[in-house]
Structure formats: C-alpha cells, structure tokens
Symmetry: C2
C-alpha cells in the first residue's frame, strides 16, 4: 500500500499527450489553448475617442479660445476626417477615430451647443484628454494569450478581437468508463431485492463533462472471458479506461488479474486513504487504466484527486490549488489520508470547510449536501479548528 | 444615476419564470432541479456485505466455535441464500446480500481456509460487523435532493441510483445577444483602419454558456429604422435581450429612445460604478432588456454582477457569495463602486485578491490575467490590505 502523495507522483509522471486539434473559437470555452495568441494590430488600432463631445486642437484653447464652430461629425465606424480650420471643432462619438488636426476631446457635459457653435464651460483642458491612444493597451505583435491557457469568456473575446476564428486546442482523450458487478442493473430497470442500479459510471461521465471530456460507457458482467475480450478491445481503441468496482479482494474481483494478463503494467494497487483505498492504476504504451473501487464516494473522490490532476498535467494546464479552513476539530485515527466531505462557504475572505456527517464512505446521497473533500494527512490524528488543508471542491 | 445596490435590487425584483422541462438525467448537469427526488427503496436496499470473507451466525462464535465448514458462496448480484446449518458459514463478497441466518462478516484477512473449512484467527467478533444495514443511509421515501438544487455529478449519481432517467429542470430563457455600432465588423473580416471586430457578443455567449444558457447573436447597424424593426421582432420572440453598446450619450446612441418607443419600460439608466456605468435596464411583460455599455470590460463585469444573479434568482438557485482579501492597499477617489480586476489565489484557506494593473476599463486583454472583480464600495476612498470584499470570479 502506497501513500496518496506517492500515488499522485506516479500518476503525474504517467501523463500522455493527446495532440492538438483546431476548432471554431466559439466552441473552445473550457478547452486548453495550444498556440500563442498575438495582437494582429495595435490596440486600440487608432486614437480612439472615449467620450461623446467635441474634438479640438488644444493649442487654440491654450490661446484663450472658448467658442468653436462645429465643422462636422466623426461617428464611430466612419473613416477619419480632418479638422480643416484649427479654430473650429468636430463632434465626436465614443469609439470614433480622433479626427486629424485635433488633440483633445471635451465632453458634452462640459460644453453648451447653440446654433452650430460649441462653447466650452470649463477652465482646464489637457492635451490628449478623453483619447485612448493607439497601441496604448497592446502593440501589434504582442503576445496576448499564452499557450496552455484554460479558455474562458475573456479569451473568447480576445480571439474575436484579433480575428482568430479557429483556434488550436489540446485534443481530449478518448475515454471509456466501465462498470462491473453482476448486482448492477440499468437506470430504467426495476432492481430485484439483491440488485442495485448502475450509478458510478454516470457520476464519472458528469465529472468528466466538467472537464469538457466526452466519454463512452459500458457494463461488463463478472465473467473472466467476457471481461478479457472486452477490455482487450477497449485498450486498443481508447486513451483512458476508467473502471468502477471489481478491484477489492472478492472471489469475483478478478479485474487486476485480467488487466495484467492483457499486458497492462500495474503501477500500484491500494493507496493509504479513506475512502478510495482499493484503487488500481496501470498503463500500456497507449492507454492508462484507472480502476476505482466500487463504492460511489470512493469513485467520486478518486476521480477528483487522481484523474483531474492527471488530465491537467497531460494537457499542460496549471490549476490553482485550493485550501480551506476547518470549522471544527476532527479526530481520525487510522494511518490513512482522510478525504472528509465538507460544505464550503466564504466568510470575510476565508474559505471555511464544515464537515458533513455521513454514514460512511458508501453513501452517495451524503455528497448532495457536501461541496468538497478536505484532505487530512495521515501523519496526524487530531486536526484542529482553524487549521487549513488542501480541498477538492466540486 | 442609482447605486449598484439599488440597481441590483431592481433587477432581483424583476425576475421571470421560464417554466419547467423534463430532460434525460445525464444531460441535466449544470441545470436547476425542479422536483424533489425521493429514495425509491431503502439504501442500502438489503443488509449489504462490506468486506469479502465469511458470514456466520455470531452466537456460534460466542459459544466458543472457531472452525466453520463453508456451505456455499453468496456473490454480489445473486439472490439471497440461507445458511442451513448455523454452525457452518457462507463465503460472501462485497456488495452481496447478507445470507439468511447469519449476523456477522469476518474478513479473509482474519481467517484461514483449508479443505473447505474456515478457521477464525481473531478473538473478538461483534454482532453485525462488516454489514451495511438495510435503510441505514436512507429510508424509502426520504427526500434525497431538494427542489432548486443546482445539478452536478453527485446529483447525477443519485438520479441513476433511484431510477430517475428523466428529470424536471428549470427551462432556460431564450436569449438574443445584439451588438450595435457601425465601427464593428465580423471576426473573419479584416477591419479597415477605423473599424474593429465584434467581440463583446461572443464574450457574452461564453459567459452565458457557463450558465448552460444557449443564446443567439445578431448585429444591427446604427440606423434607427432598422434598429426599431429588428428589436420589435426580438422583443416578441425572446425572454431576454442583451445589448452591448449604444447606451451612452453619443449622437448615434439612440438605443434607449428606440426601446422606450417600443414600449419597453425603463427601470434605470446609469449606475454609480466603474467600469460599466451607462447600463440601461428595462422590461416588457414578457421580455427583460439588459443594455450594457460597449466597452468589453464593462460588458463583462455587468454580465457577472447583474445578469448572473438575475438568472439565479429567476430559476430559484441559491449561490454562495464569495469574498476575498485585498493583498495591497487600493485608493479609489470617485464616488462610484469600483469593480477592480484581480488575480485570485488561496493561501492557508484565505482567498487573496491581487489587483491587476490595467490600462482602463476598455482593455479586454487585461482580463486574460485576471480571474475576478473585487467590489470596492463607494462609501470609502481607501481600501486596506487585509480587508475583505465581495468578489466575482470567472
């Protein structure tokens, strides 16, 4: 049995590159950018008017002039016009190009317009006021977004701004999620007294959807022959297999044996943690196998603790680690890392983790009231109110 | 001009009910549940074996017996069998039904099996050990998930467990996102010197996708006739119109006038905030109109600060408010609520907000380095390192 830290180290050293694909920018939210995005021109691309009002040559104002004949209008989206007489002005709209021969914009609020004449009612105007100067935000050629950025709404806006209608993103792994166990029946079936419905595979589908990974699911009965032939096929056709169940010590838990017979290199089996201990991890040259224990909370926590970081590492994404503060003392005696279900809330900038009373590791419905697992390390027994630990929120 | 608090109050009092729809459970992640989910049977539905080993009648052990003939195997997914002779045992697997006439499970680790006889090597066995008793987690008929819960992976797992293959969720609003402004060209076009590409509508599409809202987009030129006829059509066919641009004081910013002429009741125009001040909000009986200012950061912040809570309130979702701690002193003199771009990170359970230096409210690319806005209220000028404020993360 290895430690959580060691298990994670092994997993993070077994990352995989799934390549790159080019997709329409508007579909790229939640994906990992695999190219640098550069400014295709200066931003703003011209001296941009930032207030509605009039544009003047500021030297005239400095010479004492206060009354300006309106020569024309410069609207947003119109070609730049020129102030012909430097003692006149041009009405300008937010977003417009600053007219040639002008050097400051005076807001409508600060002028009075009558009979085509604008009178300035304030005493000070500075050069370049209310002008967002060309290239001030970004110069043409600057890197705006670095490779390996997780794409969100701000990135989508920048793609549009620089005309990147197609973007290169990390390809996602082809994932097959497999349930085993003859006690399982489908969601739409009425289980007999000794049966229960499949649920873990769907929890996993949903957890992977959160990462924008679309997965397939299947169920294999507890039959060594069937298990062997199906898994052989999946190992050849998928980048990742996720199993739920069949990895503890039972007579019909022959999954580890089947995997090893099929040439999957075992990297570890069993991690010193609760819940989620009987976790088996292995690989072939082209496929990773995460075989999680069958109980719902174990599957859930192991997906967050192991699969998520493995995926982030494989795609080159950096994710900020969260820590939270215990709201009460917790005692946990076994020499295991304890993933305790917690409710998370913010108080004055502190992320507070309140333990949830659950009946044990198998109770999926307790997760409904939780929104994270706090990771209490195995080198202590008492965890004090006010201490902070790593937290996995969902 | 009204305060941010007043604007939010008006918006939260203008919520709308979009009704309920029934969808396949596996597509319901990110949606708001609109029914209660009950346990369709006890959980566990039977006395469930939690360890692989043997099941015995514990009274025999208490009478001093240590050696048990193995009568049979109870596998997971098999109908319950009976222990015929109470001085024998049955091999049992994790997930199996506890056999009739047995009352404790002894792990393989604690026994030795030879020639069909299991010998118990430990001195104490308690009644019901290694058995997850029927109904211990949940009793049949208990509410497992309340109405108005935001659906995630745990809920998906529970739906599957209780056989809810179709679930009732809040219908989402039909949203049209409209850009205006003749300076705008399409993402795939090469803008002329005085033009820029449309980007805000796509930022909004992406921000709404995060809420699982699928929206349509369109562009209308700065022509009062066209604007009027298009908006009339959209008001009739959509629940929400989101505008970006054309709501400040410019000569061609006639959107507020057009809206009011079309019978849209103005609820406010201009909020005492930076960025995002020239925000116009109004409604008809069937449609809400959020007209955001045209600059990218203003649109972004107003969508988070106003549209998100409006949507949560309309669908009955409760969202935990986040607060964060300033990492440095900030001075902001104008009598406006300041939405400052920040980078967020967790340190010992504290959510730390580090201000991002941006060139002003118009610079979308500065948002690439930010992951939130901290809300600094307008009743102060100095905001001290260590103080906590509401934060909107993205």
């Amino acid at each position: 049995m290895i430690s959580v830290e060691k298990a994670l180290e092994i997993i993070l050293n077994s990352t995989q590159d799934f390549g790159v694909e080019e997709i329409p920018f508007l579909q790229s939210s939640g994906r990992i950018l695999k190219e640098s995005i550069f400014a295709d021109r200066d931003f703003p691309p011209f001296n941009r008017v930032t207030m509605d009002g009039i544009a003047i040559d500021v030297t005239s104002f400095q010479n004492g002039q206060r009354s300006y004949k309106i020569e024309g209008i410069q609207a947003a989206g119109s070609e730049q016009i020129s102030l012909k007489n430097r003692e006149n002005c041009i009405e300008v709209m937010t977003g417009a190009v600053l007219p040639k021969n002008t050097s400051a914009v005076v807001r409508y609020e600060d002028i009075t317009i009558k009979n085509g004449i604008a009178i300035i009612n304030i005493d000070a105007i500075y050069d370049r006021q209310n002008i967002h100067e060309q290239g001030k935000d970004e110069q043409k050629g600057t890197e705006l977004i670095a490779k390996n950025t997780l794409i969100g709404a701000a990135e989508i806006g920048v793609f549009a701004t620089v005309g990147k209608s197609m973007v290169k993103v990390a390809k996602h792994p082809k994932v097959m999620i497999i349930s085993t166990g003859d006690e399982l029946v489908g969601v739409e079936e009425i289980p007999l007294a000794h049966q229960i419905r499949r649920s873990n595979v769907f929890t996993l589908v949903s957890l992977l959807n959160t990462l924008n990974i679309h997965s397939e699911t299947n169920h294999i009965s507890d039959d060594k022959m069937v298990l062997t032939s199906k898994i052989k096929e999946y190992l050849e056709n998928f980048d990742v297999l996720l199993f739920s169940g069949a990895v503890s010590k039972g007579k019909f838990d022959f999954l580890p044996e089947v995997l090893e017979n099929l040439g999957v290199e075992k990297l570890f089996h069993e991690v010193a943690q609760k819940p989620g201990k009987p976790f088996w991890f292995g690989q072939t040259t082209s496929c990773k196998v995460f075989a999680f224990p069958g109980n719902p909370v174990s599957t859930f926590v192991n997906c967050l603790v192991y699969f998520y970081p493995w995926f982030y590492n494989s795609t080159g994404t950096k994710i900020e680690k969260k820590t939270a503060i215990l709201s009460e003392d917790v005692i946990f005696k076994p020499n295991l890392t304890y993933f305790l279900q917690v409710k998370l809330s913010y108080r004055f900038g502190h992320l507070i983790a309140t333990p949830i009373n659950s009946n044990g590791s198998g109770d999926l419905s307790s997760l409904i009231n939780a929104d994270g697992f706090i990771q209490l390390p195995n080198d202590k027994i008492e965890f004090k109110k006010g201490e902070s630990f790593k937290v996995f929120s969902f």
